[in-house]
Amino acid sequence: MSEVIHADHHDDHAHGPEKGLKRWLFTTNHKDIGTLYLWFSFAMFLVGGVLALVIRAELFQPGLQFVQPEFFNQMTTNHGLIMVFGAIMPAFVGLANWLIPMQVGAPDMALPRMNNLSFWILPFAFGMMISTLFMEGGGPNFGWTFYAPLSTTYAPPSVTYFIFAVHLMGASSIMGSINIIATILNMRAPGMTLMKMPMFVWTWLITAYLLIAVMPVLAGAVTMMLFDIHFGTSFFNAAGGGDPVMFQHIFWFFGHPEVYIMILPAFGIVSHIIPAFARKRLFGYTSMVYAVASIAFLSFIVWAHHMFTVGMPLAGQLFFMYSTMLIAVPTGVKVFNWISTMWRGSMTFETPMLFAIAFVVLFTMGGFSGLMLAITPVDYQYHDTYFVVAHFHYVLVPGALFSIIAAVYFWFPKWTGKMYDETLGKIHFWLSFVGVNVTFFPQHFSGLAGMPRRIPDYPLQFADFNMISSVGAFIFGLSQVFFLYVIIKSLRSGAPATGRSWEGAKGLEWTLPSPAPYHSFTQPPVVKDEEVLG
């Protein structure tokens, strides 16, 4: 853009950000909203982390030391809810806001005002949910899966606030998804066909459809709870002709796609970072896209594998066992493709790459334990033990969370125009890597040995592994505070970044200067194959 054009549009100053608080309250800019989402999710991550440390402190030794069982249950419940709905999901939406317009060559999101609303709902939703912890009778204490009737007839009075908060979170997610779909389908630069879209855009497109499909199911579940609690219905009450097991079917019909909502964008992120640092084009782009689509499809027909012990006919158990095992095939394809991308590349190991490689290894380990859990007859032994806890933390922490951290390091120079401190980034990686494994690896053992999940106290034979696990949790927790320090230090005094901040980085966002201009692409960029396909 030349000086002359600038002069012509001299009165166009409304396009810059406003000053002060109003900038953040009223913003319709995808970058500002992305930033809000990311800081919000980080704040929630720290809150959820504190709750996790309360849990781990109590479990450091057998016996009750710090908290009572009823408070412990509130900690496990809110830890899960906050991490799932407050940390991981908003972080991915924040990344989508920042990256999708830049990656498809658009100036902004398609629906900027709705974008503002979908963010600003969240602080109220979580404010309400967390406030229940201070109410009479306490907050939600029935697990993040809130199985009826523990969450209806036997719930604390604050459950109504929880239901309203879940409704708000759902509304936010649905609006965010509509926005993402509208942006991707309508605002791609000319020449960017669907099969030339960056993987992050592809994974988010599919994730957004999953969200639109299942968030209303969750809303239905909590609405039925609301009616059971306040209006005398018996959806989930056997004594009134209802069925507590129906709650679980509805919940997991939402819940299983939900867990893929938390991992598909991670697949997208890793598919950008590995090629960039291997200096080699992503292997098997087409099969990557089809693998994500297959995983998304399968996510709708496997839900009852969370319910193998609930009592189902043999044919049902077999169907859900086989369909669950099938997920290993497209997931395996993805892992093989990432490794083939690395194969005979020219790799360097900056912080984002370290997190991405750790993602591939540790997520795959979570995949192995997932495959073991799919085998119905042995799942009877694993179900609701720490083996399950280890499994889903392996896919969510070094899986989803590591990919988010990798994305922050990878795109940080593009967002801020500054490089982070590489040494500090690597220290952060190694602390996190050690912390996460020391925390969660021993939980495989305590689970196999028979320790049930969600218990505030445990028999003596589980003492050693719980102590190790608690030590790891504190290492991991503190290393995320260190992450905050790394980010703030880099924001203040990072070295200036170039437009293409990484030698091997490909994609339209890297054709922009760093920091990226407030309105990413005011003119549609020319889409060149060697740029978008790497």
Binding site: G63, N73, Y154, G311, L314, L326, R344, P452, Y458, L460
Partner: protein, 363 residues
């Protein structure tokens, strides 16, 4: 040395258990696990080799290949075949587990917040034998005021007893919320869902005491409702069962007899400790606002029959259960008598089993 090694292995892996099913499950677990380990070694081996060898610092120029239909077909088909290899034994074990019917005896297992009820379903004795099994680990141990026993949190007042070598069917259900009944050494676990009846069976070959825990979050004391099953040799079981049934018949006949204040207080204290103290606390102070105090409460100091009715019928929509379905008249009378005359409550009246029977019949 060998024994401690075995003990360590126990802490690391699934238990082999003591039934045919549990051994099949263990073998299946090891098969799947070893296949996963083998795949992991190959996949991670390739990855780490690549990380080691294909570095820019070694001056490697990046290759330019980015697809291979043959390779991609291969790593779609081979994993599918491996999955089929896993699915065959998995299906066989599952089918074996579903081999219900032909049982020698049936026991109803009913989960309550936070205890188990076992009822021997026996037409000959009109399902007479039924009892609760409540964790007996003292609160002192939980609150670190005394040394924890070996079976900390895995000790109950009444064991479920079953014979060896007979096929025992368990009918699993729950009274309030969902629980799950699990004995790892038998290789069986099933959710106890209120309003539904789930079926489970086992044949245990070795006598012994086997312990498990509730595995579905069921509220405050979810961590404190263990399962203990004692497996007796057949003859020993039959003798035990016969004596239990006859004791039970005598107890039922004398259940309505009047008791003295001292007898009521003694039995009441025991019943209170087992059934009431987890919510209302041992000192009757409760936990405000969820679990009201009994000391000085309007109910405990008010009319006796209202107090009895509340304990018999429970309070709908709260954690206060209908104990009329759990306790016999003597237990109900004594616990109410105890509550009205302990914790500084000094009502001074007397509650007799016959009062409970009259009250129940009058409704």
């Amino acid at each position: 040395m060998l024994l401690s090694g075995l003990a360590a292995a126990d802490e690391l892996n699934l238990r082999v258990g003591v039934t045919d099913i549990s051994r099949q499950v263990y073998d299946l677990h090891m098969t799947i696990f070893l296949i996963c380990v083998a795949i992991g070694v190959v996949v991670f081996g390739v990855l780490f080799w690549s990380v080691f060898a294909h570095r820019k610092s070694k001056g490697v120029e990046p290759a330019t290949f980015h697809e291979s239909t043959k390779l991609e077909l291969a790593w779609t088909i081979v994993p599918t075949l491996i999955l089929i290899v896993m699915a065959i034994p998995a299906t066989q074990v599952l089918v074996a587990m579903y081999d219900t019917g032909g049982e020698d005896m049936s026991i109803e297992v009913r989960g309550y917040q936070w205890k188990w009820q076992y009822k021997y379903l026996d037409d000959d004795y009109n399902n007479t034998l039924s009892f609760f099994s409540v964790m007996s680990t003292p609160r002192d141990e939980i609150y670190n005021q005394s040394v924890k026993a070996d079976n900390y949190l895995l000790e109950v007042d009444e064991y479920l007893r079953i014979p060896t070598n007979r096929k025992v069917r368990f009918l699993i259900t729950a009274e309030d919320v969902i629980h799950a009944w699990w004995v790892p050494d038998f290789g069986i676990k099933r959710d106890a869902v209120p309003g539904m009846l789930n079926e489970l069976w086992t044949v245990v070959e070795e006598p012994g005491i086997y312990r498990g825990q509730c595995t579905e979050l069921c509220g405050k004391d979810h961590g404190f409702m263990p399962i203990v099953v004692e497996v007796l040799p057949e003859a020993e079981f039959d003798a035990w069962y016969a004596s239990q049934v006859s004791t039970e018949l005598v107890r039922q006949e004398t259940m309505g007899n009047d008791l003295t204040h001292e007898e009521l207080m003694a039995q009441g204290e025991t019943v209170y400790g087992t059934y009431c103290a987890s919510c209302h606390m041992a000192n009757g102070e409760g936990v405000a606002p969820v679990f009201p105090a009994i000391a000085g409460s309007a109910v405990a100091l008010g009319p006796r029959d209202d107090h009895l009715s509340l304990v018999i019928n429970g309070v709908a929509g709260t954690a206060m259960q209908a104990f009329g379905r759990q306790l016999d008249p003597a237990q109900l009378a004594s616990v109410v008598h105890y509550q009205r005359n302990a914790f500084g409550n000094d009502v001074g009246d007397i509650s007799q089993p016959q009062d409970v029977i009259n009250l129940s019949n009058g409704q």
